[in-house]
Amino acid sequence: MSKNAKGTPIVKGLGFDSFGLGANACTVDIDEEANKILRIRPFHFDEHQTPEELNAWKIEARGKTFEPGFKTLISPLSLCYKKRVYSKNRIPYPMKRIDWDPAGERNPQNRGTSGYERISWDEAAEIVAAEIKRMHDEYAPEAILCEIDGHGETKVVHASHGCITHLLDLCGGFTLQSRQPDSWEGWYWGAKHIWGMDPLGQQNKQNNVIKDISENGDAVLFWGCDPETTPLGWGGYMASRICFWFTEIGVKQIHISPDVNYANAVHADKWIPVLPNTDAALQLAIAYTWIKDGTFDQEYLDTHAVGFENFKYYVLGGEDGVPKTPKWAEKICGVPSYTIKALARYWAKHAVSIAHCNGGSFIRSCFAHEPARLEVALLGMQGLGKPGANQFKFMEWTLFGIPTLDPLPPSTHIPSLGAAYRGYVTGTKTSFIPKTMIPEAIMNPPVSWYGHISAGLPREDQFDGPYTFPPEGGSRVHMIWSDSPCWETCWNGGFKMQDALRDESIECVVVQHPWMENDTMFADIILPSNTKFETEDIGTDCDSGQWNVVFYERQAIKPLGESKSDKEVVAEVAKKLEKFGGIYEDIYDKYLGGKTDDEWIRVGFDTSGAPEGMSFEEFKEKQYYAFPTREDWKDIPAGVREFHDDPEANPLRTPSGKLEYYSTTLAQNFPDDKERGPIPHWVDEGAGHQERQYLERGRKYPFLLVSNHPHFRVHAQHDDVTWFREMETCKVTGPDGYKYEPVWVNPIDAGKLSLETGDVVRVYNERGAVLGGVIVSERIMPGAVYQDHGARCDSIVLGEGGLDRGGANNLIAPTACTSNHAHGEVTSGFLVNIEKVDVHKLAEEYPEAFERDYDPACGLVATARVVNGKEGE
């Protein structure tokens, strides 16, 4: 053997949820001499701690045993990460857009089109600092919009998000892009009003739900839920193992969704295909069946709910003359009425829980608050909280440090590294814009809305306002600085965002990012940040479902190219600001906080909750500490059992403390809202949306597009991973050799449209078109088409009505929010049409776009946009 095959093991948290919320602990074997990553593999909890010290848990039920295992159940999105680190799409050095001259013509209209030239760090930081100063002098600090949310690597001392705002808060402030609860839309805007579950709207007491289902449950409804893909950026395959466990002990897994997602594919006992965003009709028909059959728990409702009679009146047709019968629902949702009745009757006779991951058309479509509220209404009708009957999630088991979210046996402690986090998790700001309204706020201010929008605020915040941008006497946006440049491919109506980024009011766009992707190509200045393999840091993983762990992250390799960590990128700008004196004096030291990286890592360790007996040196040597399972875990009441058993002593956070089938606060605050009224309804259409196949727009755009969290990406991340892209299910190679984002089409629809696997199609509506590669598949029901979201933008025609080759379908998602007082995104379950295209003809029509530097293995490469890469010119 020429060298040590094993290498030197270090630890890295390869989760991708952003901020300091760690996840996916992995062991990384490095070759120190060669400055190289050898391999990525599972992290072992038992390397330095015994099973007894970990207080290893097990769930025993029906004669079987479920145990967590002592190594992490690694996610493919972590396992592939070398390819992300060494991607051909890494930004090698600072760059400036060639036709942007801060002293002269800025050519905002050319953003997204023109190329870049290499500049030095010195020049880049100098320009950014001067632009900040100019904004402060000519407008106000709030003229700078900061985009610091979104997904990314989880880093702490080298925080991928918020270093920018950390700096700008030291010199006058900024305007905040306020990220709405994007993954939880319907629950946040809807379910909260029926059961008061803060902060997300999903059931917030989930402890011991898996144990409870194992002992008492008959079935779990996976409602638009994919435990095989959605948790992967956060928690690996414990979710998948729970599904295998349910199969082993005979808990029936019923999937209700338009598509055969990856969990349905291998775990489902039954699939009920439902047309995208028509779940509310199915739910109402279930309620109708129970009312007609007299098979719901009236006694429970008498003591646990208010307003049920109002709901019943609506369901039976009293309010609008339309009884919500299974036959009525069948026409809307595509589920045969006999199956709706069979499901309703099965549910009424059995202990049934509902499982969720996030996203998809159940929860991210127009009026998503209605299915979310109706789900709780149904759970209530069958005695929510009784043995085997809760709502739970397969992910985000310690989100925001909340200890009651973990449905598996919890650890003694959820370590927080907040004290060491060098970015900035911004609270409320006087000048802010909901992320869903950014394009309007840039191009057509003023805009107004209710609430602070930011995910995680209590229910009452939705009634606060209205707020306006710009606030009274405030400035509109003239500069954007982003560390999360994926608005186009992750939010609502990206083509309009392309227009906003090219608006003449925007004088400067700065992007710091490791990869040349998406909004980065609209920047005037690009600052290359690096990956966590290139820095030393500290991290946590509290989402494995095994044990919460805090770990030391050694530097794996030296920084690639001229890249710097996000913290260091902003520090370069801070240095250049100092010369302006006044509020900028000593700003570099203030920004760094007077400590070295190692000292900040130590701050993290000291405040993490690791035992006092463990020294920092011991921590660095062992590289981790795992918190044992709580001694009393079996005694924690399962789910909302306490509310079930005694609602007076354990009220919900609704005004009445009970399930509110009629929401008095919605009625008081928004009395004229027909889209989100006091009682959950079926909503055909509203001011911002006509997304039903049976209405006028449905004739022109007859398919509903389903777009889940992607299988081979975490939103916009990972699209350049060569080992994914070569899988025949990840990309479809078109006749021109380009790898197109797959579009699943049912054989019945493919027959009508004369489509075959391998064809390239336009997926389009009046907002524009994206291309995709057809896979004719039984994994999608007729009438719906499927395409993952988050593909890298490769736009051929920019702006509204544009055309994108990459297949980033958020570009054509509705720009209007969830409903008139719910400012969420609508990015799944919207109308499109599809038609075959001749890519060779398109190539003749748009030669420039089709001739961009492209490597099929990796996709677009950074050099595609560099017109001058020479140093010092």
Partner: protein, 275 residues
């Protein structure tokens, strides 16, 4: 002592960690004397085949692993005895130096598990991560499997599994003697739903009898709470399905799984008014 691989399709969630781990281990890494680096793309020393089965709404997806079978009587060894050898533990290794230029090895493998490296001019395949096995470690693909769907170890320890196992190419097993064993490989299924359309109800507890017209074999099941019935892991054959329920006329339906799994769809039963 001989090593074996066990792949259990019933435990595979199709995550492709095994396929990725092979790339992670062998792309840009050189593990001499067993392997030179694998090209970044295009070679699949381990790959997962995704098989979509059935029709809406009875659709299943199965995953089957393809890779070197580490045959005891390996066709590649016969094709190039000086360049391909078997280790004592049973792993078959193509010597990356001695095999230079031997393109014919690619075609010698009936399992399609050998790939040609154009740049290095060598045939390449799974080494069983012999460099890790030598250090007492698991092959990388086995280590990253979240469900122990892929296992590796001593033949003796897997006697029970081996007794139940089948080969990926049963017709070649006797001659090649593969050391890769498969459990629960997907066969065919037939499914459907029994309904009384006039009453607009599913029929629960209907008796469904499946007759294999090729072998005469009979299987019986009942429709469940959703009116659904399934026959899993049946052969590719022609079948007759008999549906009986109290008070209804019996119906007989033909189903052919020769080429694909079959969702028969709704089977409408009619009230027996024959008296």
């Amino acid at each position: 002592m001989g090593k074996v691989f066990i792949f259990d399709a019933a435990k595979c969630n199709g995550c492709r960690n095994c396929q990725l781990a092979c790339k992670d281990e062998h792309v840009d890494n050189e593990w001499l004397p067993y392997a030179k680096p694998q090209p970044d793309t295009g070679q699949f020393w381990t790959s997962m085949e995704e098989i979509i089965r059935g029709q809406v709404p009875k659709v299943k997806v199965s995953y089957v692993m393809h890779r070197c079978q580490h045959c005891d009587n390996a066709p590649c060894m016969k094709a190039a005895p000086d360049a391909v050898y078997k280790r004592e533990d049973g792993l078959v290794i193509i010597d990356p130096v001695k095999a230079e230029g031997k393109r014919e090895l690619v075609d010698a493998c009936p399992y399609g598990a050998i790939f040609w490296n154009e740049e290095l001019s060598i045939p390449q395949k799974c080494t069983g991560c012999a460099h890790l096995v030598d250090e007492g470690e698991l092959p990388h693909c086995v280590d990253v499997c979240p469900h122990e769907a892929l296992r590796f170890g001593d033949e003796e320890d897997f006697a029970d599994e081996i007794a139940k196992a089948e080969a990926i190419a049963p017709e070649r097993a006797a001659s090649d003697e593969p050391r890769m064993y498969y459990l629960n490989l997907p066969k065919r299924f037939i499914g459907g739903i029994i309904v009384d359309l006039e009453a607009d109800e599913v029929i629960i507890g209907a008796k469904i009898t499946l007759e294999n017209l090729d072998s005469g074999e009979i299987k019986v099941t009942e429709s469940d709470d959703f009116g659904d019935f399934w026959f899993h892991q049946i052969p590719a054959a022609k079948f007759r399905v008999y549906v009986e329920a109290n008070g209804y006329l019996t119906r007989v339906i033909e189903a052919d799984t020769t080429n694909e799994d079959k969702n028969i769809g709704p089977i409408d039963l009619y009230i027996n008014q024959l008296g």
